[in-house]
Symmetry: C2
Subunit: 556 residues, 2 copies
């Protein structure tokens, strides 16, 4: 036993936990209306593990021996389960493929090093053997950053960082913590919280992603407005590469030419194995509030978010859902009874009397952190802006609910897949001046794609992660697959339309999900051919034989 | 006439403006005591231009013809004055060399393109001719980033960006401005201010540096606590490279792998010619105050700055001078008379009665910006922290003075050189937990270096640019050169001791002055051998023949 826990081989999260439609009376009619799916139909469970065709490992004995020498026999695994778990991340494409028994190439071996010395040995052994090395954190990636190339003829080693899971020390004066790269989100926070600190980094994948994975994919957490993106948070790194162990010392800022720190962040395993980061940490805030607001429509909500970003206020979270996502939120709520039912009904009546079209309602969450005075000052600024844009505050109840449930959303994809429906996400970031354009065109592009493949589809969106000059738009889309067509091709048609719309209207291919293989076709359109050439130059300098997670970021 | 104005060929700033010692009665005794220099001695003016030995241009006729074709005859200069102006930046080493008639290699030609198309033509022409190309902004660089290699056998073209000096447009919703790279600081602000905006970027070199130069050297302005470093401010860039014109679109954040934006920022001409940036701009603040404080000693001042950085307050400036720099500030003040004299004397008496050792006094400036409420909230938080560390507020007078005079400091180096004294600066950044260590050891290292070369020397320091995890320490050092020794060698002994101390105690080789040739010997110690190899990979990918400002950043 390695002591490292993994997610379900076939889906998101912990075995035994699933999306629960019970006691959500509005859900079934909502889903039927949105995508024509009847939730009362009998679900088809995923394929059984025994029915998978797992290719046998192609592992030379000498390589196996060297790996055992490097990390110990207990930590070298070639069994089918461990190899399948390390084959894919958790993108919709991954879930579809594994359910469809599509496993053209799985890693030949999984190793679990205990420390940086063992990582160095594995890197050296892989190099000597001419093998491919793919670093693996929590396995939550949804951009295709983890899979071996289908036609890879070399031996493939998946290097699981799960045993390197400790906060090594906290520098209280500098507010910096040294953390091993394999530490999962909850373990980071538990170890920091015990000493009164937080990293403040809470991506949707938090429960099942690691600090090294965050660094390798340019992750961003839902409180990034206050704590920054991972690229801001991580000040120092240690990275084991074939020729070097590159050490970026923790510095608040520096003028040492092109930023090597910013090359390693986002490198998705192509520049070596990140073994340790030094990250900014903060004292746990005295107060923390998530306030909910309602806006009459999306444009007025967007305008309010923009104005908050330009104001003196510094909230920790700014988030607004479009009308569709707001409708979805209401549909997934538990049945309200008693007083709360009357409050909700009364509120809706009030809004109608105000002249609002309830079908256009947009729900927003703004988070505040700090001293009581700071929180109330920021809230006063935000409230004034909300009022100017005709929004209204509806208290902290919905925000508390959101805060508790925020990590559960990914479970819904497996629930839908059991019922033949595809649900997925695509996100971008763009300047404030172009967000409405990105939004309008992306919604239209998704609908056109649904028409093209002849399905009834759904698309919804929220804005989150505000910056001075723009914000992230996060789209969720869903449809019932047409069984007469190739499932992957249908998915590609929709996904492609959305990604191309991002690029065509001033957005990036991804704000925080990374490039991998899923988004690499848009890389050149995003950063231009010269940018791709520069990136290739770094990859070639570190890894001329393309042995480190090849095929990711830059398309082949 | 090109319409582009340059600094003095022999020194800092505008011809006719110089440091003025008059009406500063405390200055002469202070300087005599600090470095043993008698200010009443007769100064030696710099060498006359006619006495310089300027090498003749080595410019093939075909190259000259092609350059004329590219930018027009008016904008191709081979006269000695223009070539000398474009040979060096304004480091102390540069000033010493030009006064000593040391000009081993000057550019063969200076060209002034009017737009990106002309830059493209110049880059193509240079490539065809196998010539070296060195982009030139305001010429204020003090890290040796501008000079041709002494042994350069190829033709050297200095590409002066001075004609590309306009703010092209302001995106009010996104708070982004497109600005041509050759625009000088005052021109940036004048054009932005006219429409109610500011970039908020005010480096010491502001008057004589350009937005392209800021990008190329990772500049940081004195209000970086609020507005960010230039790497935060610049969201998009256009860069003309041999094979590509790389375009980084303005994005608030993105997850497109290793950051190409962060490779171009800090590239010091080695990755091509930055022609345009898209930068964050802000509405001019309603209120702006710089408040002065006094602390009993450096450690308590440092502790207060650290606590301010960790607090809910978000000041625009945090700055504190050590006792020596505080003494220097007082010595360079105009003679106070009447009421203000009595106020100052009264204050000092009050502090002595409080038990303060006045020789340890540290002067601090904290800047506040925003609405009246925001400013007073932030000030309340800071005042409480200052009080906790036994500091006292002394009003806004000294801050106003500092604000008005902040760009005049570099003039003093020429004043000192006329009198045989060397004055220079070295700056670093380090985590809060190591700043005292960096400080103590750097002061000791400078003093040991003075002893080694047998001179009476002075070193003083301030902290500025606070971040969550650390801050910048900015050292100024001065001594009277021993005429029996090589002036450059003496300087190297002192400079080397200071730089090595930075690295040895957790600091970086430079916080915002860049690498160039001055700091490149410490690059590998700062970012490790692997980091240097990655950087070299980017340089080689863009410029395999090392024609773009060769010899900078990575030592040869």
């Amino acid at each position: 036993m390695t002591g490292v826990k993994h997610m379900k081989w076939w889906g998101w999260g912990v075995e035994g936990v699933a999306f629960n439609p019970d006691n959500k009376p509005k859900l079934a009619p909502f889903v039927l209306d949105a995508v024509g799916l009847d939730l009362s139909s009998t679900p088809t469970p995923p394929i059984s593990f025994d029915d998978l065709d797992v290719p046998a490992p192609q592992l030379p004995n000498s390589l196996q021996d060297d790996l055992v020498e490097a990390v110990g026999e207990t930590y070298v695994h070639t069994d089918d389960m461990d190899r399948v778990v390390h084959t894919y991340g958790k993108s919709l494409r991954d879930l579809i493929r594994i359910r469809a028994n599509i496993l053209p190439r799985v890693p030949d071996v999984v190793v679990y090093p205990s420390d940086e010395d063992q990582v160095r040995k594995v890197v050296d052994v892989a190099r000597k053997a001419g093998a491919v090395l793919i670093p693996f954190g929590g396995g939550s990636n949804i951009s295709g950053s983890l899979e071996p190339r289908a036609n890879e003829s070399r031996a493939v080693i998946s290097l699981d960082m799960g045993r390197m899971n400790r906060v090594l020390d906290i520098d209280e004066d500098a507010q910096l913590a040294r953390i091993q790269a394999g530490t999962l989100g909850p373990d980071v926070e538990e170890q920091l919280n015990a000493q009164g600190w937080t990293m403040g980094h809470f991506p949707d994948s938090f429960t099942h992603s690691t600090v090294g994975g965050w660094a390798a994919t340019r992750s961003s957490g839902m409180q990034s407005d206050k704590y920054g993106d991972i690229a801001d948070i991580i000040r120092g790194l240690r990275v084991v590469q074939p020729d070097h162990t590159t050490v970026i010392r923790p510095l608040p800022s520096t003028a040492t030419g092109p930023s090597v720190r910013e090359m390693l962040i986002g490198s998705e395993g192509r520049l070596g194995v990140i073994t340790e980061v030094t990250a900014q940490v903060h004292r746990l805030p005295e107060h923390r509030v998530i306030q909910a607001y309602l806006f009459a429509d999306w444009p007025s909500g967007l305008a309010a978010m923009r104005e908050i970003a330009a104001s003196d206020a510094s909230p920790s979270v700014t988030r607004i859902s479009d009308a569709n996502e707001t409708g979805f939120s209401f549909a997934t709520q538990k049945e309200s009874t008693g007083a709360s039912k009357y409050v909700t009904e009364g509120l809706m009546k009030f809004l109608e009397l105000r002249g609002w079209d309830l079908s256009q309602l947009c729900l927003s969450f703004i988070g505040y952190e700090g001293s009581k005075t700071h929180v109330s000052m920021d809230k006063a600024i935000v409230d004034k802006i909300v009022k100017k844009h005709k929004g209204i505050g509806i208290g902290t109840g919905p925000g508390q609910m959101y805060d508790q449930k925020k990590f559960d959303t990914p479970y819904i994809r497996d629930f839908l897949l059991d019922r033949g429906a595809m649900g997925d996400v695509s996100e971008t970031a763009a300047p404030w001046s172009r967000l409405q354009e990105v939004y309008d065109n992306t919604v239209a592009a998704a609908r056109a794609a649904y028409d093209q493949i002849g399905v009834k589809g759904w698309v919804m969106c929220h804005l989150s992660h505000s910056y001075h000059s723009g914000a992230c738009l996060y789209f969720t889309f869903a449809y019932v697959a047409d069984e007469q067509q190739d499932t992957i091709e249908q998915y590609d048609t929709v996904k492609r339309a959305i990604q191309q719309s991002f690029i065509d209207h001033g957005g990036t291919l991804s704000h925080h999900h990374a490039v991998g293989t899923e988004h690499s076709p848009w890389l050149e359109q995003d950063i231009s051919a010269g940018g791709v050439a520069m990136m290739q130059g770094v990859f070639d300098a570190v890894d001329p034989k393309a042995s480190l997670n090849p095929g990711k970021i830059i398309p082949e």
